[in-house]
């Protein structure tokens, strides 16, 4: 038995309940999934199957398309959510803007709406012929022919990205707002005295100081993007190049192919971790440089 330091002994009562719950709720299912991904028939108690399941993943004709769609989907939602959310945070935070709480509250509503509700409603609004969006665009004279938002491979992925950004950007906005409010005012004052322009202030003061909170924001949006599946499922059922990895996992599960589903899920987790890892690396590197 290792000798516990005084600190460690004091940590135990705080740590233990959380760790136990984590072990049960997370470690066991994770262990189960990993085991399943390396075995054969889950129901008949099959044997060890090596990496057979992972290999057959790559042979699935939908896999390469799914990877491509997932990359576009993830990249699109993360970049757009972060950009729009940050822009909103910066704008509302300006001293001359009134009713800050009102704007923030109203915009945040988009994040709160339950997933099933927003997916079904947007699907309806995006309908080519009977949808309110095309109707309004036509009435305003913006388009002359109805846009097939959900039924053409040109627009389908864009449409689901729009909905995901619509719901994630408000979360980014709120997080970045919180970060902005922490920034020390004197830094800006001295910069202004030195004659800095607004974009110089933005690049050299604001963003570097917001690194940590940006980290959490981007990570969360990233994770939500990779794991999201019910939104796309409800809106397009994966048609027109919108099938992502998460949907493949669900498809396998539906077919009772628990082994393949587990392998897909592990792949999904690994990809998430790779993205996150790359991002952490960038953040940590900059930290060390300072």
């Amino acid at each position: 038995m290792m000798k516990l330091t005084k600190d460690e002994k004091r940590a135990i009562p705080f740590l233990l309940p959380g760790l136990i719950v984590t072990a049960i709720l997370i470690v066991y299912p994770l262990f189960y999934i990993v085991t399943m991904s390396f075995s054969d028939n889950s129901f008949g108690g099959g044997g060890f199957a090596g990496i057979k399941n992972y290999v057959s993943l790559f042979h699935n004709p939908q896999f390469p398309k799914a990877i491509r769609s997932t990359l576009w989907w993830t990249f699109g939602t993360v970049v757009l959510s972060y950009a729009i959310g940050t822009l909103l945070a910066l704008l509302i935070n300006r001293k001359s803007i009134k009713l800050k709480g009102f704007w923030r509250g109203m915009i945040f509503i988009a994040w709160i709406i339950p997933g099933v509700v927003k997916a079904t409603t947007w699907k309806w609004m995006f309908q080519t012929d009977g949808g309110i969006i095309n109707y309004m665009l036509q009435s305003l004279g913006v388009i002359s022919k109805n846009i097939p938002w959900l039924t053409s491979s040109k627009f389908a992925l864009l449409s689901v990205i729009i909905v995901q950004v619509w719901s994630c950007a408000p979360y980014v906005m709120l997080m970045m707002t919180a970060g902005l409010q922490q920034l020390p005012a004197d830094l800006y004052e001295s910069a202004e005295l030195d004659g800095a322009t607004w974009y110089e202030k933005l690049l050299h003061i604001t963003f570097p100081l917001l690194k940590d909170i940006s980290f959490i924001c981007i990570l969360m949006v990233l994770v939500w993007a990779i794991n999201e599946f019910s939104l796309i499922f409800i809106m397009t059922q994966g048609g027109h190049d919108t099938t992502t990895l998460a949907m493949l996992v669900y498809n396998q599960f539906k077919v009772l192919n628990i082994n393949l589903a587990s392998a897909s899920a592990i792949m999904q987790l690994l990809i998430t971790m790779i993205f996150a890892g790359i991002y952490v690396r960038c953040v940590v590197k900059e930290d060390e440089e300072e």
Partner: protein, 279 residues
């Protein structure tokens, strides 16, 4: 701050932009309410229209009096409250430990917590079901709340770690010198300092639990524990989907959360700023 024309123009542009965004945000909500007030024939009429020609409250009446939604509402609330409470209690104390004490595996475990947030839920469904089945927790609100910890606790732990790191150790140390016990320190000094942070992570946990579908689908069987996202399916049978009632139900379940949020949103923002910055 100089209020010259440049600022004023920028302000006006900003307000226009913000107003547009708000309209975009509210559009689906308005569509939901509009549809919920239409009789069945009107719902699919082309061309689509915002104002119902023959508005009716029958959908709301049906949902409130003759459906499972009210009961499901209660279930969702209880499950959410319990999951939030547990996440805050367990995650919060774990976060405190990560922030304050040096021990082996500190970095590893806290990173593990973060990674747990990334787990895909679709495949967690089966092992989660097996576990809860063995413990006879299926179709109970307690069981579902426990399962929801999977999505609530990791982030709460990570954020709590940040908050506590932001509180200078000196405050606690001087209190200890004065003879306060650990519990007293927590109760009298720490908790008041982090109340906004509790609000922030609490809301995140509650809303995540409220909207959660995959685990609730598998772990609930009857109205005893069925939550709102699952109950929404009540209106679609093999033959037809009652959109009017579905939308009325959607309005009923979304509006209260929005109201609650608007009331405490100031806390939320204050709380977020304290916790996430010290990653």
């Amino acid at each position: 701050m100089k209020r010259n024309t440049k600022t004023i123009i920028l302000d006006i542009l900003t307000y226009i932009f913000l107003a547009t965004v708000v309209v975009l945000v509210l559009m689906p909500l308005l569509w939901i309410i509009s549809t919920s007030l239409k009789p069945a024939i009107e719902i699919f009429q082309k061309p689509p229209h915002w104002i119902p020609h023959n508005p009716t409250v029958s959908n709301y009446v049906g949902v409130i009096t003759a459906s499972e939604i009210p009961r499901a509402f209660l279930n969702s609330f209880l499950v959410g409250a319990l999951a939030t409470f547990l996440a805050l209690a367990l995650g919060g104390s774990a976060g405190y430990a990560f922030a304050r004490f040096k021990f082996r595996g500190n970095k590893f475990l806290s990173l593990f917590m973060l990674i747990s947030q990334m787990l895909p839920l679709t495949v967690l469904m089966i092992p989660m079901y097996y576990m809860e089945n063995k413990m006879s927790l299926v179709d109970t609100r307690f069981g579902l709340a426990l399962a929801h910890l999977v999505i609530c606790m990791p982030l709460v732990t990570w954020m709590s770690r940040g908050y506590f790191k932001g509180i200078p150790k000196e405050i606690e140390e001087s209190a200890m010198v004065d003879g306060a016990t650990q519990m007293q320190i927590i109760g009298r000094i720490i908790l008041p300092l982090i109340k906004p942070s509790i609000a922030a992570t609490g809301i995140y946990a509650f809303v995540s639990s409220w909207n959660e579908f995959a685990l609730a689908n598998v772990l609930t069987r009857s109205i005893q524990s069925r939550t709102v996202p699952i109950a929404l399916n009540e209106f679609s049978t093999f033959f037809k989907v009652d959109w009017g009632q579905t939308m009325a139900a959607a309005a009923i379940i979304t509006v209260p959360i929005i109201v609650v949020f608007l009331l405490i949103q100031k806390q939320f923002v204050a709380g977020l700023s304290a916790g996430a910055v010290k990653g």
